[in-house]
């Protein structure tokens, strides 16, 4: 799917994350997390997996995480993708 407009999902609460999506020429993912040192690689792997699942090949993806579990990451990111791609 193609990111055609700005969209956001999630919250800043503990165990949650905020996802910001914007159209861009290339795919650029930035992740900030209070647990980046411990789980940065796992968060990134999950994000890449969800983006690939939805065929997102370009866009500015910004994530600020406060220790969300992987199904929360998936749910928030999918929600943002739906909002960024719908008509």
């Amino acid at each position: 799917m193609k990111i055609v407009k700005k969209a956001q999902a999630g919250t800043m609460q503990s165990s949650d994350l905020m996802v910001f999506l914007e159209p861009a020429e290339t795919l650029n993912v930035t992740i900030e997390s209070t647990v980046l040192k411990q789980f940065g690689a796992l968060i990134r792997a999950k994000v890449d997996e969800v983006l690939a699942k939805h065929g997102v090949e370009a866009g500015e993806v910004r994530i600020t995480d406060r220790g969300a579990l992987d199904y929360a990451i998936e749910a928030r990111l999918e929600t943002a993708i739906m909002r960024a791609t719908e008509g």
Partner: protein, 333 residues
């Protein structure tokens, strides 16, 4: 649930909550939200442009997630309005409350800390990484509204004293000449100087975030705190990235706010490892050349004398159809 605060009763409650937590109700703002419990407002927050302010939680409800909910709402709505970077001022003691929300401390000075949500500063600095050559580098931060022979003289003097000179043009749109026009005048006016690199300040130097009263001439006493934050941020976060060891500034005989800013530079930057070199202002007709003098002459239509105050490249722009549209609002020409 977070809701917009719109009615006069909402605002009365917001004012009371802010005052109960030692804050003030400060207009203007673009958006204000809060959380009610049984009809009573227990959390409030507002956004003005990129700045989040008036954030307060009732003492009886602190320690929970109300602040998170208010900030989430303000950031989410602001993002939809096109704001991509958010700032908050707080006391250094309260900064950790925001750091757990993924805010990052930009600078702290005395009783004030400035934090940014997200990694805007890092992305700003990364834009210029390839332009930086290691060495004894210098910096000038200037509005250039418009670019004059005074600026040109300062740039020449500074460029001769360092390996690479970074000329930071103020990004903020609070001036007669828009940023794009100022940037072009500076680039055209310094193109022949090989070791001068022109960059923009983004929101991180002399902006409505770091130094709002710069744009109100003869600003209020609150300006002093803001200058300290602005300069601390420059010395600790910006200068190291550009390997800048010296900041150059023109002497300021005319404008009170700028003179106070220069004075603050001498006080704040050297202890943080940045040397300050103040260069005597260049004169024309026994009076200092200044951008405000050029603007006054333009607005009065005295075009003849301007050629003595600005480089040819600036004069060409001022007299172009695009330039005339900027200063001749009445359309007399």
């Amino acid at each position: 649930m977070v809701t917009s605060l719109l009615s006069s009763d909402d605002l009365t409650q917001a004012r009371a909550l802010l005052e109960a937590t030692g804050l003030q109700f400060e207009t203007p703002y673009d958006d204000m939200v809060g959380i009610f419990e049984a009809g009573r407002l227990v959390a409030v927050g507002a956004r003005q442009g990129r700045t989040l302010k008036m954030l307060a939680v009732a003492p009886s409800h602190q320690g929970g997630t109300l602040l998170d909910e208010v900030v989430t709402e303000l950031v989410g709505r602001g993002y939809q309005e096109g704001v991509d970077s958010f700032f908050v001022f707080t006391s250094p003691a309260l900064a950790p409350n925001f750091e757990t929300l993924n805010f990052h401390l930009l600078a702290a000075s005395g009783k004030t800390a400035l934090l940014e949500y997200g990694d805007g500063l890092k992305r700003y600095l990364a834009r210029f990484t390839r332009l930086v050559h290691p060495g004894n580098n210098g910096a000038i931060v200037a509005n250039c509204n418009p670019f004059t022979l005074g600026h040109r003289y300062l740039v020449e003097q500074a460029a001769a004293a360092v390996d690479q000179l970074f000329l930071f043009v103020v990004r903020e749109e609070r001036s007669l000449f828009p940023f794009g026009a100022r940037m072009r005048m500076v680039q055209d006016g310094t193109a022949d100087l090989a070791n001068v690199t022109v960059v923009d300040t983004s929101w991180y130097a002399i902006s409505s975030i770091t130094f709002p009263t710069y744009f109100l001439k003869d600003g209020d006493p609150g300006g002093a705190i803001q200058m300290e934050l602005d300069l601390t941020l420059f010395a600790q976060r910006i200068a190291p990235h550009f390997q800048v060891k010296t900041r150059f500034v023109g002497s300021e005989p005319l404008c009170g706010t700028t003179a106070a800013y220069n004075e603050a530079m001498h006080r704040i930057l050297p202890p943080l490892g940045i040397e300050v070199r103040e260069i005597e202002r260049k004169n024309a007709d026994q009076h200092p050349i200044s951008a405000s003098r050029v603007r006054d002459m333009l607005l009065r239509g005295e075009l003849e004398g301007i050629a003595e105050l600005v480089p040819v490249s600036t004069l060409d722009f001022l007299l172009s159809s695009e330039g005339i549209k900027i200063w001749d609002k009445g359309g007399a020409r």
